[in-house]
Structures are given as C-alpha cells and as structure tokens.
Symmetry: D2
Subunit: 131 residues, 4 copies
C-alpha cells in the first residue's frame, strides 16, 4: 500500500549547479518516511519505536528544479527480523517524470542500549499492512 | 591511489537523534570528491569539466558523533565510456572504526546541453591514475 | 500588504536539541521571500532582477517543533535607493504563538558586475504596492 | 579575549547563486561558538550548561566563495543576568577581507523546565575571562 507525501522544494535545497542537491533528495525521503511512520506511532516519541538507517541506494534520473512539484511515494518492500526495506519513488506531481528511485534499509533500534532489536508485534502487523 | 580528506564535523550536521544525519554523510562524500577533483581541474570552473551524480549506495556502520575525527577516503573503482565509479570509506582518524562505506556513479555532463557525454582524453588519463 | 507562505517543517530542520535550528529559520524566511518575489518576476531568472542579503536581524521567541504548523508573513517595511527592508513574522497557523520576528535588508545586485544598483522603476512600483 | 576557529567551506554550503548562503554563515558562527564553549564545558553534555539563541544580527559585507579560507573570531561583548552577547567577525585568513560581522544573544536555559535561568557562578567567571 503506497504512501505519498508532497515536497515543497526550497531555494535552500538547491546547490551551486542550480538543481536540488542529491543529498537533499535523501532528506526528502526522510521527510516522507517521517510522516508515513506517524501512521504507526501517532505522535509517540520516535525513541520509543524508532530505527536507524543501515543502507541507502538511490538512482537519480532527472534533476529537480525550484519550481517542480515533487511528490515522494514509498512502500514497504520486505520485512526481516529486525529490519525492513522501503522502496521510494520521487516523481513530478503534474508531469510524467521520475526524478529518483531509492531503496532504504531501516534497522529497529533500542535507543537505550543503542543496539538493534527485533521488530515488535504491533509494528510487524502494521508493516505487513504496508507491503 | 586513494585520496583522503578530513571532515570537520559541525553541530549543524547533527539531527534530532544527536548523531550526524545520514544525508549529511553524503555531503561529506561530496566535499571529499570536490577536493579530489581539484587535482584534475585545478580551479577551472566545474561546468567546463564536471559530472552529475547518477547513483549512490551507502552502507552505514556506526553513528558519527560531534567530537569524532572523521576522514573520507576515496578511490576510483571503475571507468566507463561516460561515467566513473568511486568507492568511499568514512573512517575515524584516530580509532579503528568505519562509519560508512559508499559507492557513487558520476556521469560526465555537457552543461550546455545538459546531456551526458564521453569522458575526454585528459580526464581519462587522470582517472586511470586514480584507480 | 502582507504576504504569507506556509512552511512544511522537515525532520532535517531539527538540530540535536530537537527543535528547528535558528539558522534554518532564516531559510524559512528565504523560502517565503522567494515565493513573494515571484509576484514580481513571475518565473524570470533571478539574476535578471535579484538582490543580495545585506543585513539580517532575528528575534527568536519560541522554539519550533516538528509538528508545528508554521507560517511566515512578510511585508515591505521601507524602500531605499538600491535596497529595501522586509519585516517577517514566523507564527503558528493554529495557535496564537509567534516563533520569531525578523527584519532583513536586501540590496539590488547587478549580477554581471556583482555590484549594487538602484532599484528599477517596475520593481519600485511593485515594492510600493507591498508596503 | 577573542577566540578563533577556521571554517572548511563545503560545496554544500553554496546556494544557487554560487556563494555561501547567508543562513549557512550563521551555522559557521554556531560551529565556532560550539568549540569556544568547549573551553568551559570540556565535553560535558550541553544540556547541563547550555543556552538558546535569543537574537541574531548579521551584516554581510562580502560573498564567501568555495575556495576562500574562512576564519570566525568571536569575543564576549557583554554579560547580563541570564544572557550574554557575543560579537563575531567572519574573515578571510589570508586576505584583508571581512565577509560578515554579527552579534548574537544567548540565553541560559534550564533544559528540564525549558525556561531561562541565571548564569551560574562558574560560567560567569569564565565568561568574564572572555570579555
């Protein structure tokens, strides 16, 4: 079940080449994921049910310019014991253009011990509903 | 032949979890690559001999904290017709810790037409010396 | 005549203290000003009719948190020969809270010579309509 | 007693106009202040002896470009009951150029109550040594 979130491109997202910097696009993914995750944690502190980023893969297809209407779509692609993988697409809302595609691995973290931990039951159920 | 560049971690690189944000680490790679590329272009405008980022892969191993002494090492891993791949390691300068490893594909760009173009002879010779 | 623009607070706007970093709030002002200025230049390149920032003053009243609904309001406060001053307010859209107030001086720039220049007639007329 | 800290300008500090963005320069001030404050807290958590930013004033004199050698100098200008004011200069290390000057008011914060609090004795003594 895909989740979509629009991005309001800022002037400060641009780099000296005049397009949105490739690292900033990864912050766009983070922004969409933050709002998606609220569907599970509903305002609870992230430290109670949160993750770290273990791996990022991004393919950049087209440059994003300041006036582009950007939308990020994500869906859960696979679920492991302590991690899950999200697939992202960064598209233009109006035109048939894909700016970037990405795959990111999140690992559930016990913030007290700073160690990874298994996905809990409630989160597992929710993640399965997002496949 | 690896190239290394130290990173002066800034407070503004941290996110709300208190460690360097994963997207910012990609800016660290960009920063090191910028200085490495100066070995070729020596202050010439980037638009005369520059590239876009086509693909990024990063594996995050350990969090970077504000007082860590970070160094980025990169080397050219392979050279194609119009692109080249760099392998990065983000390490602690003092301790035996690897924070992240990355592989990034750069595509040579003709900034006038905004299209990819073959790697020129001078750049090819230089890139081969960086393998 | 005030102009308002909503800000979609991002996780990456937060710093290690868990609130929106004070420097990022200045990017919020830039973002609102960028959209306000489009009312004049309507998609024309900024380098044809643009400015540099000469002075920034910000008073920070309340911290902005990730779930706050932020809106920036600006109006033109005064117009000089080659510069104009904007007054900003950063507020909560829902609650009666002012996060920050700011005053910023912009200087018209001739991007070819990189020197300041007088405000042109068309821009002057438009700025007066924004007082 | 002035304190100085060099800034390693990053490509990601530039905006679409090709110079260091004005908001990023405020992060440079933050970076220098972070290291200056270590002279007092010596690695202790910032939340035990920390502050919020109450007011920022910056005058921008010259653009900072990617190859500039930037150094930030700060000194304590005045000390109040619960706040202190720092004066900053952002200069070129090699050339006689001032990029920006700033004055920033910090307010001591009790991070548990999120309210301002008087400057403690040890911090007061240290701040006086920085006048």
């Amino acid at each position: 079940m895909p989740f979509s979130y629009p991005i309001d491109v800022r002037f400060s997202d641009l780099d000296a080449l005049g397009h949105v910097n490739h690292a900033v696009i990864i912050s766009y993914l983070e922004h969409a994921r933050h709002h998606w995750w609220q569907g599970l944690i509903k305002g609870k502190p992230f430290e109670e049910e949160g993750y770290l980023i273990a791996r990022v893969e991004v393919d950049y297809r087209e440059s994003i310019l300041i006036n582009d209407k950007v939308i990020v779509t994500l869906r859960c692609e696979s679920i492991g014991t302590s991690s899950f993988t999200l697939a992202f697409q960064v598209r233009d809302e109006l035109r048939d253009v894909v700016f970037a595609e990405a795959r990111i691995v999140q690992v559930m973290l016990d913030f007290k011990t700073q160690r990874s931990r298994p996905i809990g039951d409630e989160t597992l159920t929710w993640l399965r509903s997002q496949l």
